[in-house]
């Protein structure tokens, strides 16, 4: 099975804090990680490879330092890696990003494309389905479990809010994965040590057949008018009271 996994390097938002004085985000010193939903996708791909044989290729669109992320994925056992990087890609919204990634994917062989459900920085959950649309592929988003591959079909479980669907999807298709699906494996120490031998295909705008008007800031249908952090208005000062007093006050409120 030829599996492509789309990955994104994101800041570890569990560590991000807001500067109480300037009310802006403190981004300095926040480590970068593989987006958790994407890492789960890599783990699923590696498990499928172990079951059915084949090749796992990871792709990312990002700045040069995303190479570090790709190396860490090599250390987990992926077979090939592509970094789509070009200053002209900067400022792309999800539509433009999906456009760029799709134009690359079109040139590669694949049976299955896996993308993380959503990125912890953008939180949109749009890139996966938009790529599926550009490539005219069947999709299942928010997959809770991959059951098996059978007769050119992928059997998956999708948990909706109230019920769970068991679905059979024709390959090739695109699925989006959730962090909760698995515990992604760690890097292997021996693979990590050999990382310098691994090639990363560096892809720039020139390598792609894509209209320059449909990428970057100018090629994005949406744009950000403004961003702001929520102003925190203290409603009351905290008081020290005994647990018993607190219990009584809470009970009287609820009644």
């Amino acid at each position: 099975m030829n599996i492509l996994v789309l990955v994104k390097q994101v800041p570890d938002i569990s560590i991000i804090k807001i500067d109480p004085v300037t009310n802006t985000l403190v981004r300095a010193g926040v480590p970068s990680i593989v987006n958790p939903d994407d890492l789960a996708g890599v783990e699923e791909a590696l498990q499928l490879k172990a079951r059915y044989g084949g090749k796992v290729t990871v792709l990312t669109m990002g700045p040069q330092q995303a190479q570090n992320m790709l190396y860490s994925l090599y250390a987990r056992g992926v077979d090939d890696a592509y970094l789509l990087t070009d200053r002209k890609f900067a400022g792309s919204d999800t539509w433009a990003t999906s456009n760029i990634l799709s134009s690359m994917i079109k040139t590669l062989p694949y049976d299955l494309i896996i993308a993380g459900y959503q990125a912890i920085d953008g939180d949109t959950a749009q890139v996966g389905p938009q790529i599926a649309e550009f490539l005219n592929l069947a999709q299942v988003t928010h997959v809770s479990k991959i059951i098996e591959v059978k007769d050119q079909k992928l059997i998956v479980e999708k948990k909706y809010e109230d019920d769970t669907h068991l679905l059979s999807v024709k390959l090739p298709c695109l699925i989006t994965t959730l962090k909760s699906m698995n515990t992604a494996r760690l890097m292997r120490a021996d693979l990590a040590m050999d990382i310098e031998e691994k090639p990363i295909h560096m892809i720039s705008l020139n390598d792609l057949e894509i209209n320059e008007t449909e990428i970057g800031l100018k090629g994005s249908p949406t744009r950000v008018k403004k961003t702001y952090t929520k102003e925190v208005i203290k409603r009351s000062s905290p008081i020290e009271i005994t647990p018993k007093e607190a219990a009584m006050r809470i009970l009287s409120l609820v009644k």
Partner: protein, 374 residues
């Protein structure tokens, strides 16, 4: 860049598989078999050996960093790797025949086999030459009889490097080394010793009663055993120095977190000068320990003589491990004495590093010997 990623891999491994179990491993004296399996899956069991034998093809430095990082969370896990790599795999790598390397080293490096080393006897500790375990040449096999005590990884190892007297009349030159498999008839393992520290580590007696050892399992040549043992221990010392340093570093990190949080007399105890002086002392010792350890590993990797640098690394790091863990408990006060706070374990674990694989006294003999007789 790859070395950084390697260290990150070892750290991540330790945080996921080793750290969460460390307390229980000690409390319940459990040998962490599952962790050993995971170490194998993550490529940690053959770091300094050639890829021809399934090793990582890396350096002593890389191996020693792994032992150190593991020991920062769990000294038991650190010594399991150290004994396996330095004391079992290493002599086969240095002295073994091609067949022996193919048969044993390849499996030790993948972690399919766990290794151990048996030199110490009831009457032969520091005086290792007083071997009473005998191996009689019977033509197409050796007949092995005797007892070994205090053997690390005993009962879990698949392969043991055992030393025995093949010719008592030759003294030290009458000792030979053998590769013993766990299933050889006549070989049994005694019950697990109850220890002060590294309580998860399996330390037992080995009993050999007329064990038939095939001729091809002789390691090196007849009479070479003592030399093999001493050279192996030289390398093993570097591993233990790493374990000791890791123990000291682990305790230091925990104490540092505590002193920055804990307040008495309206200040953090980190703000008292006596605490600050203690931190400065410990930090300097750790740095000195790291440098000695680094030098020993580098000497070995570069093919320079490393007997003295290894001895100094072990002597110093084991000493500071005991001192630093003691000091760290003191900084935590009453909490330092409570087992749930996971610092007193470091104090108990540290002590063994001054004893096994050559006591600190032996290290001093080695160092002084080389210096005075140079």
């Amino acid at each position: 860049m790859s070395y950084q990623l390697y260290l990150e891999a070892v750290n991540d491994f330790t945080n996921r598989f080793v750290k969460p179990l460390a307390h229980q491993v000690d409390e319940e004296e459990i040998f962490p078999s599952d962790t050993v399996k995971e170490m194998a899956l993550h490529g940690l069991m053959g770091i300094p050996f050639s890829k021809d034998y399934n090793g990582m093809g890396s350096t002593t430095k890389a191996y020693v960093d792994a032992v150190r990082i593991l020991s920062q969370s769990c000294a038991t896990t650190g010594v399991i790797l150290s004994a396996h790599t330095s004391l079992a795999s290493s002599p086969i790598d240095t002295f073994g025949t091609e067949e022996q390397k193919k048969k044993y080293l390849s499996k030790l490096c993948t972690g399919e086999y766990l290794g151990a080393f048996g030199l110490t006897e009831a009457g032969a500790g520091t005086d290792a030459s007083m071997q009473t375990t005998k191996a009689i040449d019977k033509g197409d096999y050796f007949l092995l009889t005797g007892n070994k005590i205090f053997i690390t990884n005993a009962g879990y190892a698949d392969v043991y490097i055992i030393f025995a007297m093949t010719d008592a009349s030759k003294g030290i030159k009458g000792i030979s080394a053998f590769i013993i498999e766990k299933d050889f008839a006549g070989f049994t393992v005694g019950p697990k010793e109850k220890k002060l520290g590294i309580r998860g580590s399996s330390t037992c007696e080995l009993i050999f009663r007329d064990v038939k050892v095939p001729k091809e399992n002789l390691l090196g040549e007849v009479g070479m055993g003592f030399k093999i043992a001493m050279q192996t221990l030289d390398g093993g010392r570097i591993g233990i120095a790493a374990q000791a340093l890791g123990i000291a570093e682990g305790a230091f990190e925990r104490a540092l977190i505590y002193i920055k949080k804990r307040k008495q007399f309206n200040k953090r105890i980190a703000d008292f000068q006596n605490t600050q002086f203690a931190i400065a002392d410990m930090k300097t010792k750790l740095e000195a320990g790291r440098l000695l350890l680094g030098q020993a590993a580098s000497d070995k990797d570069q093919g320079r003589p490393y007997t003295v640098s290894a001895a100094m690394a072990k002597l110093y790091n084991s000493k500071i491990a005991v001192e630093i863990t003691d000091q760290c408990i003191q900084l935590l006060g009453g909490y330092g004495y409570i087992r749930d706070y996971e610092i007193e374990r470091y104090y108990r674990d540290a002590k063994i590093t001054e004893i096994y694989e050559g006591t600190s006294e032996v290290q001093k003999m080695v160092i002084a010997g080389k210096v005075i007789n140079a």
